[in-house]
């Protein structure tokens, strides 16, 4: 498989006609990054102006910090991945910048708890990891060799928090030197790498062997065994840790990648069946989950019971208060949500203060990020690269859906970080790693462009 991919790459390089070569568009990337940084600084100033009538003193420093990080990332892309998709990095910078603005804005409501500086440190670490990945990983296919290392590391990371005390009902954090780390965040990238490598290697066997029941082609136990075992293990760990959002994310990722690799609708049927079984079982057995479903079905039950609005009701109030155009940065009352307003519920602040217009813009930014990932996957010729691109993009898509759908009452709420926006170091570092890998695969995709399928 690797050889075939390499051949395709060489062919593309040698045989490509300079006339159909894609423009690199690094200048556009730079211009968009400048725009993204300016937008973030504008948001930062808008908060200060709305709250105190003055530009906050840290505005220049904040803009310079974000600008330097973005510029470093841009230069590294120019140096190591000059053909990469020019939209990926500006989107990441903009989302991270907006996230910092929102957290800074919420810090004003909680004088005792300042999260923005920490988040800026984590963002710096994330960009550092981005620089490292883009600079050190010359070809994404190298990762294929580390499939089993990845899965072992992922399982180790998932298991680690079991040995640490639970925080707010979920056992997903480890605390080292004052920093909380959520190892599960890193695990999802590693699992995507593993799934991509394993499915790329075994996809023929998965797709064409095995029995056929009705119209469904079931795979043989031999190829199915390891993957189901690993999936069950990871999901089991998650249920034990009570982190249902991540569990849902892994499950969705697994089904999407299996479907893309094999093209078997049977996988979707099996996946849905498992999902329903899992949901019913967990919903019955776990009071924690059961109450989440109840809250989703009746968000105002606690109000009617005279206990005041719960977090989901407060979140809905917050979104509703924003209306079409929002209250303006710094002028909303999303802080009424209380606990987790800067992390799981960060989107409520965006919805209230930027309105449906701002919220839709955010969703479309995520959509664009995912679309660029899928486009790279379509343009690539090697199955591992394609599956990796699809897997990484799907992580973003599913994660956004699970948490955004949760806080807006579309699906039951499960705790999860909004990519780039939410407070949470592990999350922001992981997302920068995802963007770095997408830059890497899109660089390959656009470099080997053969004039047929424009990425």
């Amino acid at each position: 498989m690797t050889q075939a991919g390499a051949e395709a790459l060489t062919q593309a390089r040698d045989g490509s006609d300079p006339a159909v070569r894609l423009p690199r568009r690094r200048g556009i990337e730079l211009a968009l990054i400048v725009l993204a940084v300016l937008l973030s600084v504008y948001g930062y100033c808008a908060v200060g102006l709305a709250r105190n009538g003055a530009v906050p003193p840290g505005a220049a420093g904040y803009g310079a910090g974000l600008g330097v990080l973005a510029l470093l990332a841009h230069l590294t892309v120019r140096w190591r991945a000059p053909h990469a998709d020019p939209l990926l990095l500006p989107i990441a910078v903009l989302l991270n910048g907006i996230g910092l603005v929102l957290i800074y804005r919420l810090d004003l409501e909680t004088p005792g708890d300042r999260a923005a500086p920490t988040q800026l440190v984590w963002s710096t670490l994330g960009v550092a990891l981005f620089l490292f990945v883009v600079a050190a990983l010359r070809d994404h296919r190298v990762l294929q060799r580390y499939a089993y290392v990845s899965v072992v590391a992922a399982l180790a990371l998932l298991t680690l928090p079991i040995f640490f005390p639970a925080v707010n009902g979920a056992r997903i954090w480890i605390r080292i030197a004052g920093f909380s780390i959520q190892p599960g965040e890193f695990a999802k990238v590693l699992l995507a790498v593993f799934f991509a490598a394993y499915l790329a290697a075994n996809r023929t066997a998965l797709a064409y062997a095995g029995r056929k029941i009705w119209w469904m082609q079931l795979p043989t136990g031999r190829v199915l065994g390891p993957i189901v075992a690993i999936w069950l293990l990871s999901v089991g760990v998650l249920v034990l840790e009570r982190d249902l959002g991540t569990s849902l994310l892994f499950f969705g990722l697994f089904v999407v990648m299996l479907y893309v690799a094999t093209g078997r609708t049977g996988w979707i049927a099996v996946g849905l069946l498992l999902a329903v079984l899992g949901a019913v079982a967990v919903g019955r057995l776990e009071p924690h989950v059961h109450s989440r479903v109840e809250d989703w079905l009746h968000p105002f039950a606690s109000i009617e019971a005279g206990q005041g609005p719960n977090q989901l009701a407060q979140s809905l109030f917050s979104f509703a208060a924003g209306g079409t155009l929002g209250t303006g940065l710094g002028l909303g009352h999303s802080v009424l949500i209380g606990f987790a307003v800067k992390s799981d519920f960060i989107l409520a602040t965006a919805g209230e203060e930027l309105g449906l217009a701002g919220l839709s813009a955010l969703f479309l930014l995520y959509g664009l990020l995912v679309e660029r990932g899928y486009r790279a996957g379509l343009a690539l010729r090697d199955p591992f690269g394609r599956l990796l691109a699809v897997g990484l993009a799907s992580i973003v898509a599913l994660q956004v859906f699970v948490i955004a759908g949760g806080v807006t009452g579309l699906i039951p709420l499960t705790g999860m970080a909004m990519p780039f926006l939410a407070q949470g170091g592990s999350s922001v570092v992981t997302n920068w790693a995802i963007v770095a890998l997408l830059i890497r695969v899109s660089d390959s995709a656009r470099r080997q462009y053969d004039g047929k399928e424009a990425p």
Binding site: V260, A313, A320, G351, L356, L378, R386, F401, E453
Partner: protein, 485 residues
């Protein structure tokens, strides 16, 4: 694989579409209902985010605002709280608003569309202009005179300007300080419980929300009906009235405190307040005419607003002759608010023209620019001008030589009528002392003030409870305050 990547991409696009549709549902379609949910604190936060406008009496604010810097930030304060409580009402973070704080809430809190610089401006900018001010018609000196006159007794005073209907004084006693209900603290709940369990009911606005049997003060209305209907043509001709007077169709006899009521002239009967004469007079006038005149004075009118609502004063419309006789002397089912009785005196003073009473002179922006003024209100003819002229004579006689001598003011013409209203089962309750009057200073062209006072004094000796003794001095103080302002 390409085809399946596209399928997966479509799946992601569907997720995106679902998020966008749902966001529209929450933020646009359901937005209003979520905003209006009583558990949503945003409306309250916005409401108290800025200082509330003030209520002004005589050009000076009687309200204020304290910045607590808490979530519901600005709390209401009151200068002379108990004195103005029946006018301002309270503005509480917990218990809402009453009286002017309630009916003028839009202006005071800044939400009134009239305060916006342009139509829809506030909706567009999501801002709220500073709260406007409410300028009342009250006369500060009259208000204080009434409150001090009532002293520690239970009762109420209402005073109006006859020519316009402006309310000059509106006092209730015992009163309370509405400041204790501002804010969120546990003290507010305690104060609320204490005020509500107080047997004296200090939060009851007796001047407009409590009706009393008007007793003999209602004889003004009966007289107006008799004169208008032509039942009496000569004030000084003896009336054919027995004393005691047996109520038609019953064996109950009505008696008087004064011996010479038998066949007394209307003037003497009015000056000495003969129950027998007026009970018979009411029956002679007949139910239809009595009801018509009472309603012309404002009785039975539903939903009177000044701008907050006033309790309905009643004159029963289906009565037998005995009941009509009792109703005509302000007993049985006849009930009136002090404000209603002030209106009766005002109609007499204003030549029979009744001006609807009002309390808000104008509303202004925070800057002082006028938003709305009370404007002229159509007058209603309560009786013929000739009837009013004759009633003024009768009422002047009451003060000059009759039961209302305590209300006389040097340098002014004062007309009045006393009343001592029986109430309770078998008239067991201590009677209410009434006095209604109007006054015209000698230098003025028309009467400047009409006032009604009711005192429900359970502490006084039963015999000492008379309108002339308890209520007239208070009315006099109020009228003097107005005439000398």
């Amino acid at each position: 694989m390409t085809r399946h990547i596209r399928h997966a991409a479509i799946f992601c696009a569907l997720l995106l579409a679902a998020l966008l549709v749902n966001a529209t549902r929450v933020q646009v379609v359901r937005s209003a209902s979520y905003d209006d949910n009583p558990a949503n604190r945003r409306a309250a936060i916005a409401r108290y985010a800025q200082p509330r406008g003030d209520i002004l009496v005589g050009g000076a604010p009687v309200t204020g605002t304290r910045d607590t810097r808490e979530q519901l930030r600005h709390e209401r304060t009151y200068r002379d709280g108990p004195l103005y409580a029946p006018v301002t009402g309270f503005s509480s973070q917990v218990y809402g608003t009453t009286f002017l704080e309630h009916s003028e809430d839009g202006i005071l809190s800044g939400t009134d569309p009239l305060l916006a610089p342009f139509p829809l401006w506030n909706d567009f900018t999501r801002s709220r202009p500073p709260g406007g001010n409410v300028v009342t018609t009250l006369n500060a000196r009259a208000q204080r005179a009434a409150y001090e006159g009532l002293a520690r007794r239970k009762g109420a005073v209402a005073a109006v300007e006859p020519a316009t209907g402006r309310i000059l004084a509106l006092v209730t006693a015992p009163s309370y300080d509405p400041s204790v209900l501002s804010g969120n603290g546990p003290g507010v709940t305690e104060a609320w419980a204490r005020l509500n369990s107080d047997p004296d009911r200090p939060m009851l606005n007796r001047a407009v929300r409590q009706t009393y049997p008007p007793g003999s003060t209602f004889k003004v209305v009966t007289t107006a009906a008799a004169l208008d209907a032509g039942v009496i043509r000569n004030l000084d001709a003896p009336t054919d009235s027995p004393a005691p007077y047996r109520l038609p169709g019953t064996t109950t006899s009505l008696t008087n405190g004064w011996k010479e009521c038998e066949n007394a002239s209307l003037r003497d009967a009015f000056v000495w307040s003969c129950n027998t004469v007026f009970a018979k007079l009411g029956v002679d006038v007949g139910l239809t005419n009595m009801v018509a005149t009472a309603e012309a004075f404002g009785f039975n009118a539903a939903d009177v607003r000044i701008p907050f609502s006033v309790a309905q004063s009643t004159f029963d419309t289906s009565l037998d002759r005995a009941q009509l006789a009792l109703s005509s002397i302000g007993q049985y089912n006849t009930r009136a608010t002090p404000l209603q009785m002030a209106m009766v005196a005002a109609a007499v003073a204003n030549g029979g023209q009744l001006r609807p009473p009002y309390l808000v002179e104008r509303t202004t922006r925070w800057s002082g620019a006028t938003v709305a003024t009370a404007g002229p209100r159509p007058a209603r003819q309560a009786m013929y001008p000739s009837t009013a002229r004759r009633l003024r004579q009768l009422m002047t006689d009451v003060v000059r030589k009759g039961t209302g001598k305590n209300a006389a003011i040097r340098g002014a013409t004062v007309g009045g009528k006393t009343g001592t209203a029986q109430h309770g089962i078998g008239n067991a309750g201590k009677p209410y002392a009434w006095f209604v009057s109007w006054a015209q200073a000698d230098r003025d062209l028309e009467p400047k003030v009409a006032v009604a006072v009711v005192v429900e004094d359970s502490a006084a000796n039963r015999r000492d409870i008379t309108g002339g003794g308890l209520a007239a001095p208070i009315a006099r103080a109020v009228m003097e305050a107005v005439l000398t302002s």
